[in-house]
Symmetry: C2
Subunit: 238 residues, 2 copies
């Protein structure tokens, strides 16, 4: 705890420098951050946690907020040096070109560790799950509904689900996992219009599936004569 600059530098040189892809660095200290890349930023002095991951990712975390205030993408190369009594950390990334410089005014803690983690997270309840759910059980939508294609490419993009209703009318389904905004309605509208042109049919239905469809979106749906469904498919246990 509270190492001086040379102690910190020695520690990093000993345990991290020659195997940056195997060791993580956790630095806590008073520092300032400069970033030049896709954008530019400056962060004045303050106490933060800096994490260098084994894939080269660098994160700078302030004491609040989910998002790092500054970061470097994975594949970045990070070097340390001592510059007029300060520990300086420089990180570079090639494509896209990004540089970040952290100047430490006080080092509260340096920690280096090797983490072994083979596990991959299993997530359920996302958009593909809902699409599959409907695909396996099309009557969720309505009786007599049949799926024809998943992820069908049309001019304006990718249709989530395409099928026919009990009267053989073509149906385009757009699935959203979160609130369906106006742009979702626009998206569906474009898809329906694309399909109409492609198959030269006057009647193509559009269905919007979402946990919630706000009034504004609903209004627009009705206005452009699409039938909408608002429903919530609970994420399944895995």
């Amino acid at each position: 705890m509270n190492p001086n600059v040379d102690e910190a530098m020695d520690f990093i040189n000993k345990f991290h420098k020659f195997k940056p892809d195997k060791t993580m660095v956790l630095l806590i200290g008073d520092c300032m951050v400069d970033y030049h890349g896709r954008a530019r930023s400056f962060l004045d002095r303050g106490e933060r946690i800096i994490m260098i991951k084994q894939d080269g990712t660098v994160l700078v975390h302030q004491p609040t907020m989910r998002e790092p205030v500054n970061w470097q993408p994975s594949g970045s190369i990070t070097d340390f040096e001592v510059n007029s009594q300060h520990l300086v950390m420089k990180s570079r990334h090639n494509r896209p070109p990004e540089k970040m410089k952290i100047t430490f005014h006080k080092i509260i803690s340096v920690m280096i560790c090797i983490l072994r983690d083979q596990a991959k997270v299993i997530i359920s309840g996302m958009e593909t799950d809902v699409v599959n759910e409907i695909s396996n059980n099309p009557s969720i939508i309505e009786d007599g509904f049949r799926i024809c294609k998943k992820e069908m490419h049309v001019k304006s993009g990718l249709i989530d689900l395409y099928g026919y209703d009990r009267d053989y009318i073509p149906v385009v389904i757009e699935v959203k996992r979160s609130i369906a905004s106006i742009s979702a309605v626009q998206q569906l509208r474009m898809y329906v219009s694309d399909v109409k042109k492609d198959i030269e049919s006057a009647s193509v239905r559009g269905i919007l599936c979402a946990p919630r469809i706000p009034e504004m979106s609903r209004d627009l749906l009705y206005k452009i004569i699409l039938i909408s469904y608002s429903f919530f498919v609970l994420p399944k246990n895995h």
Copy 2:
């Protein structure tokens, strides 16, 4: 380092439990993570870094990737308990409802600290900067172009820039800092359609400004008879 369960629990009770909004916890250990909320997820055992921030944010970081593999939003409440020889961390959030449970099988390190950080990051080179750049020098777009309004509200949203070309034809400009996707074209299309209605003019041009406009977006742009510009405005120094 390598504290046992009771030592870790005592340490957390002593330094974090009664002032969670003032202290951060950094836990390193072998753990598994369950999450139930907007979606569901399970992460099997592995060594990770867990960070509890002063605003209640919780981050679970694997040794690679910029994104936390699991997290809780700010405002979450986190409690610790010992359950059949394991340190268990439970975090709750109200709106939206989210629960995360971390079960530790081995604790490599527990660290608690108070970070003082008042600084706010200053960023330049973002979309508003490009909008201002064009606003200050409209001839970037084309000769004789004049800006009329920034961030003009219309039915479907917010127009980045609104103006007239040399022939007094109204022009809507949509600025993107990254690749202009189909949805950007949709957005522009809506804005142009809104303006046409609002001012009852048959001819309104749309211009899409982006560092790159892919072929599919370009096709859609031409299809709906909008003139597009693809160019890159470098972020200024601040």
